[in-house]
Amino acid sequence: MNKKTDMPVMLSKPIEAPYTPSALSYWHILPIIAAMMIIPSLAFSAAGDEQLSPLAVLKNWIPLLLEGFVFNLVISVCAMAVGTAAGTALGLGQISPNSLMRSGSWFVTQFFRNAPWLVLLFFAMFLLPFEFSIAGLTIPMPDWFKAIIGLSLPVMANVSEIVRGAIRSLPSGQWEAAESLAYTRRQTLWLVILPQCVKRMLPPWMNLYAILTMATVLASIVGVSEVMTLTGRALSAEGGRPDLLAPFYGFVLLLFFAYCYPIARYTLRLEKKFAVIN
């Protein structure tokens, strides 16, 4: 029925679907990783040595490597928790009515947001004491604890910006309505503003968490026994066989992929969902 119109805009035209990156499935990545592991192994076994095959060696080490990976996850969860708590406080500082508080929070945020994560990690490792005393009690501060502090600093700064951005993105009418109902500033924040911000903050916050998880391997450089450190130790225990490098590091990559990719997919889904609602 549209054929007769002389206005091209009236012609029905299929609406193009918006571009969405095609989702990788596990069966996409498995062959890639498998090929990375198997090809060098085949090359070496073709050399006819009487060593255990690389995959058999890997199998022996998997329990230890998994233990190391769980430690990475523990570090990531703790650093995220500490960083989120500190970052929320800092973000609220950035919108404080007190200008000194505001500029101070802004400076701290910018400073840690524009610092390399590895430098912050070294900073925490070598500047924090290895033990501290509270009321005559001496508590040791282990390396992994310092790593959590070091990694939580950039998380804090990024969360601060996420909180500030979410609060600023709410229409000012929400503040005005709460103020005219005689809410205090604290009530306005906790009852009206922040509950609405949680939804907006969730996708970038999850993104940050995935980035943090991948950054936990930096702790290997400062000697924390996480998955990269353990992989290195396992490889040298096996006498530094070059054919083991690809399967071992391939396995570590696979672990991180299996953990971070679902987070990324879920983040994307949340973003789309909230975009529709808003």
Binding site: G173, A177, S180, A182, L191
Partner: protein, 248 residues
């Protein structure tokens, strides 16, 4: 010194207000008695919204005095929370809290600010929603309501604080034409019950019907004012005449 109900409920005296270089109010004075309904009309940018936002201290003023039940608003030591308990406000964009249901929107402030107990606050909130003819919509979220319904929830939310004065800032300007009537009817009911109301509006027919007094503002001053019949039939100032000829 102490205020009695025979004194003006709201007394605005020679108020000046500017945003940076821009002068918005240039010496505005008006009195509102208890139970009065006054309408402020005028072209956009004439300062009428700013004027009523000064009454509950959403905007501060640089010079002059605003007394609400004898309490000076232009005072650095003003207890804004006490002032705002007495003055209700309804906005053009409703500004309901989208994460709360209609009922929660209405009962939240009485519980949190006035420290009423939950059961009686809820009973009052239900009665108020019924009063603004939204029975059955208690559990709806603002996003599920039409503009007119949201605005009536906003009115109920404001009334729940039992204010002595209500400010209405162009509350029908963002509404679909078919829902304007229901909101105006709600305000009319309030006015008839004796609520003191200050309205900024573009609804001339409505202003004429409910107002006790009309103020016409232009460029930050009150150009002309009077009872509705005199004002609409017998405007003296050329600016008022021009404005009315464009609108009516």
């Amino acid at each position: 010194m102490s205020w009695t109900p025979a004194d003006p409920m709201v007394s605005i005296n020679n108020v000046h207000k500017s945003f940076g270089e821009l002068k918005v109010l240039n010496g505005v004075s008006l009195d509102v008695m208890k139970g009065d309904v006054i309408c402020i009309i005028g072209p956009s940018g004439s300062g009428k919204s700013t004027l009523i936002r000064c009454v509950n201290a959403l905007n501060d003023i640089q010079q002059g005095s605003i007394l609400v039940e004898g309490q000076e608003v232009n005072d650095a030591k003003l207890d804004k929370l006490e002032l705002r308990k007495k003055v209700g406000m309804v906005f053009q964009q409703y500004n309901l809290f989208p994460h709360k249901t209609a009922l929660q929107n209405v009962m939240m402030a009485p519980i949190r600010v006035l420290k009423q107990d939950k059961a009686s606050a809820e009973a009052k909130a239900r009665a108020l929603l019924k009063k603004v003819r939204l029975e059955g919509k208690e559990d709806a979220y603002p996003g599920e309501l039409s503009g007119g319904q949201q605005q009536r929830v906003a009115i109920a939310r404001s009334l729940a604080m039992q204010p002595d004065v209500m400010l209405f800032d162009e509350v029908t300007a963002a509404l679909d034409p078919e829902t304007v009537g229901e909101v105006l009817q709600t305000i009319k009911d309030l006015a008839e019950e004796g609520m003191t109301c200050i309205l900024v509006t573009h609804e001339m027919g409505f202003a004429r019907e409910v107002a006790d007094h009309i103020y016409f503002t232009d460029r930050g001053v009150i150009v002309e004012h009077g009872p509705p019949d005199t004002f609409f039939q017998n405007a003296q100032d050329p600016r008022t005449q021009e404005f009315l000829s464009q609108i009516l």
